[in-house]
């Protein structure tokens, strides 16, 4: 089992940041009651790198994204984002658990797109996209609206700005959710099974938008998906998880066509058969 995968071989000591890394997990432990979901997990993601997490359900992939988005609390270890600890703050040279004020300073580095879109049903499309930039980033209304319109154009929804989410198809809703996350200008985009809730014919429009973003921006992407072709298209690296640890990782060509581990082989076989 690979326990310390690093992209370029350099390792950093415990409790230190890695300035050239966008994300670094350092012996991260996450438990739900007695169930250990992540056991001393270590990995790093470079700036602008696109990493896809694959593995059976319950292997801890989604938990990794939720820890990064601060939706779940860490039990042990450290997570570093953009050179700073995420769940800890420096207090007199010691790292202590972060308070809400510190978390609010760190959160804008991340944007997340959810499996079920989670749009705000009481707001029209444009307001879904401009709400947080105005009230949480303090952007002027005019600027937020202009940016919102640009981003909605990018995801192909210029004509839907005045619709309510309930008036859109699933694929359109998910594209609004992508626009909403991007409007916050995050450094890291977290994609949590973003096509799993969609009808098959709507998957392509969402993946095309994401491909576009992956290929034209400098954003760092962590992606949990069962769309193996999409993973191949956008990822620099694929990490195979099982039982809260990394089984193996490597470039998508290697992982998908010539995996080392039996666990990866059987998982990929099962996923491909299900298609």
């Amino acid at each position: 089992m690979v326990t310390e995968p690093t992209t370029n071989g350099n390792t950093t000591g415990k409790g230190q940041s890695a300035p050239d890394k966008m994300v670094r997990f350092d012996k991260v432990v996450k438990r739900f009651g007695d169930l250990v979901v992540l056991r001393e997990l270590d990995f790093e993601v470079a700036p602008a790198e696109h990493v896809t997490l694959i593995g059976p359900s319950g292997s801890g992939k989604t938990t990794i994204l939720r820890l990064l988005m601060t939706l779940e609390k860490i039990n042990d270890g450290y997570i570093w984002v953009d050179g700073e600890p995420l769940w800890h703050m420096d207090q007199g040279g010691k790292l202590v658990p972060a308070n809400e004020k510190y978390l609010r300073r760190m959160r804008p580095k991340m944007g997340m797109v959810f499996q079920q879109f989670n749009l705000f049903p009481n707001m029209k499309v444009l307001r879904n996209v401009t709400e947080a930039p105005i009230y949480s980033l303090g952007m002027s209304k005019d600027e937020a609206v202009q940016r919102g319109r640009e981003i909605l154009e990018l995801v192909g929804l210029s004509d839907k700005v005045d619709s309510y989410p309930s008036q859109l198809s699933g694929g359109q809703q998910q594209r609004v959710a992508i626009a909403r996350a991007l409007a916050m200008n995050p450094k890291i985009l977290l994609l949590d099974e973003v096509t799993s809730a969609l009808d098959p014919e709507l998957v392509a429009e969402v993946l095309n938008v994401l491909r576009d973003i992956a290929h034209t921006t400098e954003i760092t992407i962590l992606c949990v998906t069962h769309e193996m072709q999409f993973a191949k298209d956008i990822s620099h690296r694929v990490m195979m998880f099982d039982h809260g640890q990394i089984v193996e990782y490597g470039p998508p060509e290697k992982i998908f066509s010539d995996p080392e581990h039996d666990r990866t082989k059987s998982f990929l076989r099962a996923v491909l058969e299900a298609r």
Binding site: M69, T70, L71, R104, R107, P108, M110, G111, M112, F114, Q116, N118, L119, F120, P121, N122, M123, K124, E131, A132, Y135, S136, L137, Y164, P165, S166, Q167, R180, A181, M184
Partner: protein, 240 residues
């Protein structure tokens, strides 16, 4: 029948005076109890154990004791402590506290009914607590609160009849006055029942109009179905 109608006609001036006070108490009592409902309903969701406890005690006390006794307490006992309220204020405060205790449970339930995913989306967008509640959670939660609040408004309307016991000249009080003046018991109480019923129907229709509007505000299609109460259809503009 024509006898009843002419006697009913005699009673109308009494009823009209009473209805004004009944409506005044219903509207002011509802306004106060909505405010109390939101204050204590939100307190019930606080992260602080102390704040939740205060809310709990308030709700259990005002829900668990008689409205009539609360009203008597405010009207007869409080003056002995040197605080004298005018009767209308006594009625409004008693109704506000009592129905506010019930309403705070409606508020708490309405907010709890909003899916966790909505809260998570607001965290992912780095919203603060006030912004999250005001702009995302409450606008959605209020939609679900309207039907129970409609029920509660009609309860409150009927509850106002108790104020006649502290001498306020509401519909019930005027009904008694008419009966005392004319001895016509049947007309007095039949007329009062009809008028309470009509008032309740009006509130039911208003609440279901409000429900429609609030549903539209979260993008749920306007339902072209009959309004509340007996199922009134306004304007005859039923969709084909």
């Amino acid at each position: 029948m024509s006898g009843f109608l002419s006697q009913f006609g005699e009673a109308l001036p009494f009823f009209a005076q009473g209805v004004v006070i009944t409506l005044e108490l219903t509207i002011l009592g509802a306004a106060l109890s909505v405010v109390i409902s939101f204050i204590f309903g939100l307190m019930a969701l606080s992260q602080s154990v102390g704040v939740r406890f205060v809310s709990r005690v308030f709700v259990e006390f005002f829900r668990g004791t008689s409205l009539l006794v609360q009203m008597f307490w405010l009207f007869f006992a409080l003056p002995l402590a040197g605080i004298q309220l005018v009767p209308v204020a006594t009625g409004v405060i008693a109704l506000g506290l009592n129905y506010g205790a019930y309403g705070s449970e409606v508020v708490r339930g309405g907010i709890n009914a909003i899916p966790r995913a909505q809260w998570e989306a607001t965290i992912a967008l780095n919203m603060g607590r006030v912004q999250r509640m005001r702009r995302v959670i409450l606008p959605q939660a209020v939609v679900g609160m309207i039907p129970p609040f409609g029920n509660w408004l009609i309860q409150l309307l009927k509850g106002t009849a108790l104020v006649s016991l502290i001498g306020l000249a509401d519909l019930t009080f005027e009904t008694q006055a008419f009966r005392d003046a004319t001895g016509n018991t049947v007309v007095a109480f039949t007329g009062a029942l009809i008028i309470y019923f009509i008032l309740a129907q009006i509130f039911a229709v208003l609440m279901s109009l409000l429900e429609r509007r609030s549903k539209a505000s979260i993008g749920q299609p306007m339902e072209r179905r009959a309004l509340g109460g007996l199922g009134w259809r306004l304007g005859g503009s039923e969709a084909a």
